[in-house]
């Protein structure tokens, strides 16, 4: 490729990535040359600014045409923009948490690394959103994963953190291998790594043998990527890792990483398997053929997540199970395969992002203060810090999916899709609703602690600025989207045409 063609490429569409990349480089250098005594927190604020800038750059592209460079290895379409915005939102909130993170034997020494590793992970996730190529997707995925491994273990003098990172890396490695194994078959049966080309080739697929192998690859991909979603059967790492990892990292894993997982899953599943025919052109695509398998996975995820969460006494573990459950809900939307699936997944992820990050902000405050992560540490929070308790209450209610909150509208949207689909997924949706009711138990268990129990100590809690920002955004956002969801719906409707990305 000559320099000329190189320059002709429309690199501007990568602006958000470049911003993040540049800031990573700047932070690395700053960290090197800044005096050891200087507080690294400033770097965190720089990181936050960078994410905001990237967000602005992304938002500027909203509504624009689909653009891609270099054989779709980088691609800007509505899908990528929508989810990239989500990721950036999640990223910035996580960074706010990170700058307020000051536990005992924490990450003082590696504060700067802490920030730019977050940015790198975010970058990986962003790459995943805007790629139409298997290799780029894979690299993005791994960039995210490997950075996450490091982040999980960054409290290196903390045994739980080490163990968490170890478990994460081992499970991650296995999942990567399985995913890649699946990818290799997909590549082999199409001869290309470009997703759109794959779709073009597979749309006429009739060889039953190929279909068989491709379907196996489908299963491998789904199970492998389930790791990122923390969905069954690849969910078991989540509680241990969430518990041991530093709280902002847990927040990151439960939100940004999960969003990224959905991004890649949807991208591959819909583009490749949504077109790969089973019996020649015009026959049912593999994806639809395998709907029941997805449904089983979704159901298992919801049941496991919600039921096992009942037994938890550790708040972070409980939230791990809760996040498993939420992955299950999202899989319901994916399984139903209706045209509003993107809207509902996107909206639900947005709602989930707000409520989960908000909750983690409070968890971070409490666990830092208490030095442990037991749910019992929340006892009497209402006495100690009524505002925090009420905020947590609202977020929990949103997580439980009560009306008036974003969580409810999100669930409503998913139900709508599940019932609208032909054939309608009555059983799946019913499982979802039933397990939601089960989830009341543990969400309200936290409430019980906060509101009904007397506090162990009456010391007041101080809320750092970063936490405050996250809380305000989360609570206001949760309620606003619960009461006026059309803010988000209309944004999607008017500016983005995700269905067009996949089916036009």
């Amino acid at each position: 490729m000559s320099l000329e063609t190189f320059q002709q490429l429309n690199w501007s569409i990568m602006t958000p990535e470049f911003i993040i990349l540049g800031v990573i480089a700047v932070l690395v250098l700053c960290d090197l040359f800044m005096p050891k005594t200087l507080d690294r927190k400033i770097l965190g604020w720089v990181g936050i600014a960078a994410v905001f800038a990237a967000m602005a750059a992304t938002a500027a592209m909203v509504g624009g045409p689909v653009q891609s460079i270099l054989h779709d290895t980088f691609r800007i379409d509505s899908f990528s923009l929508a989810f990239k915005l989500l990721l950036l939102c999640g990223g910035v909130l996580v960074l706010f948490l990170a700058v307020s993170y000051e536990p005992k034997d924490g990450v003082e020494r590696y504060q700067a690394e802490f920030y730019y590793l977050f940015l790198a992970a975010l970058l990986g996730a962003m790459v995943m959103t805007s790629s139409g190529d298997l290799i780029t997707l894979y690299i993005g995925l791994e960039l995210l994963s490997i950075t996450s491994y490091i982040l999980a273990g960054i409290r290196k003098f903390h045994l739980q953190s080490n163990e968490s990172a170890m478990k994460y890396v081992i499970n991650g490695g296995i999942s990567t291998a399985i995913t890649l194994f699946g990818m290799s078959y997909v590549y082999g049966l199409t001869g290309t790594t470009n997703l759109l080309e794959m779709a073009n080739k597979l749309v006429t697929l009739a060889n039953s043998n190929h279909v068989y192998l491709l379907t196996l690859a489908f299963l491998m991909l789904v199970v492998g990527l389930a790791f990122k979603l923390a969905a069954a059967p690849f969910h078991m790492w989540a509680p241990d890792v969430y518990q041991g990892a530093p709280t902002p990292v847990t927040a990151f894993l439960s939100v940004v990483s999960k969003i990224a997982g959905f991004v890649i899953l949807i991208r591959i599943l819909l583009t490749v398997f949504g077109f790969a025919a089973t019996k020649g052109q015009g026959s049912m695509p593999i994806l639809y053929d395998m709907q029941n398998y997805l449904a089983v996975i979704a159901a298992a995820t919801m049941i496991i997540g919600n039921v096992v969460a009942l037994r938890q006494t550790d708040i972070k573990r409980m939230f791990a199970y809760s996040s498993i459950a939420h992955a299950g809900y999202l899989l319901v939307a994916l399984t139903s395969l209706t045209t509003n699936m993107f809207d509902s997944i996107w909206f639900y992820l947005l709602a989930y992002l707000l409520m989960n990050l908000g909750a983690f902000a409070i968890i971070q405050v409490i666990t830092e203060k208490a030095g442990g992560t037991a749910i019992a540490d929340f006892a009497g929070l209402y006495r100690r810090a009524p505002v925090l308790a009420v905020a947590m209450g609202i977020l929990l209610i949103s997580l439980a999916g009560f009306p008036g909150t974003a969580g409810f509208i999100g669930k409503l949207n998913i139900f709508l899709g599940a019932f609208y689909a032909e054939p309608a997924h009555y059983v799946l949706a019913s499982i979802m609703i039933a397990t939601t009711v089960v989830s009341y138990f543990y969400y309200f268990g936290v409430m019980t602690q906060m509101f009904f129990r007397p506090p162990a100590d009456d010391s007041k809690l101080n809320i750092p600025f970063g936490i405050l920002v996250v809380l305000i955004v989360a609570v206001v956002g949760s309620i606003l989207l619960g009461i006026m969801p059309n803010i988000a719906f209309d944004f999607m409707q008017n500016n983005l045409d995700i269905i067009g990305d996949f089916f036009k």
Partner: protein
């Protein structure tokens, strides 16, 4: 053409993948577990390279993919080992079944 059918290569990859998987899921020593994972990735690479030559419309892409996979695998191995080091300092064990500080 080739006297060795593509399926032979694929079968080899499958066998190695399974060996790696079995190792990763049963070996006690964490280093071996990490190595087993590398073996799995190797198996994948065999697949990729095989398909690069014998796949439906062969192309160089498979080989490139394999190279990427190797790079990533190396990074992953390094990070995994680093984490093991950190853990070892705190826990003085490399036995994976003793890493059960957090459970239930």
């Amino acid at each position: 053409m080739s006297s060795v059918p593509a399926s032979a290569f694929l079968a080899l990859a499958l066998i190695l993948f399974c060996i790696g998987l079995y190792g990763a899921l049963t070996k006690r020593n964490t280093v071996i577990v990490l190595i087993s994972i590398e073996l799995m990735l190797n198996a994948v690479n065999i697949n990729l390279v095989t398909f690069s030559k014998y796949g439906v419309s062969p192309s160089i892409n498979g080989q490139v993919f394999a190279l990427f996979a190797m790079a990533v695998a190396a990074a992953e191995a390094a990070v995994g080992l680093a984490i093991l080091m950190a853990l070892y300092r705190n826990k003085k064990t490399v036995h994976i079944d003793e890493m059960n500080e957090m459970k239930h």
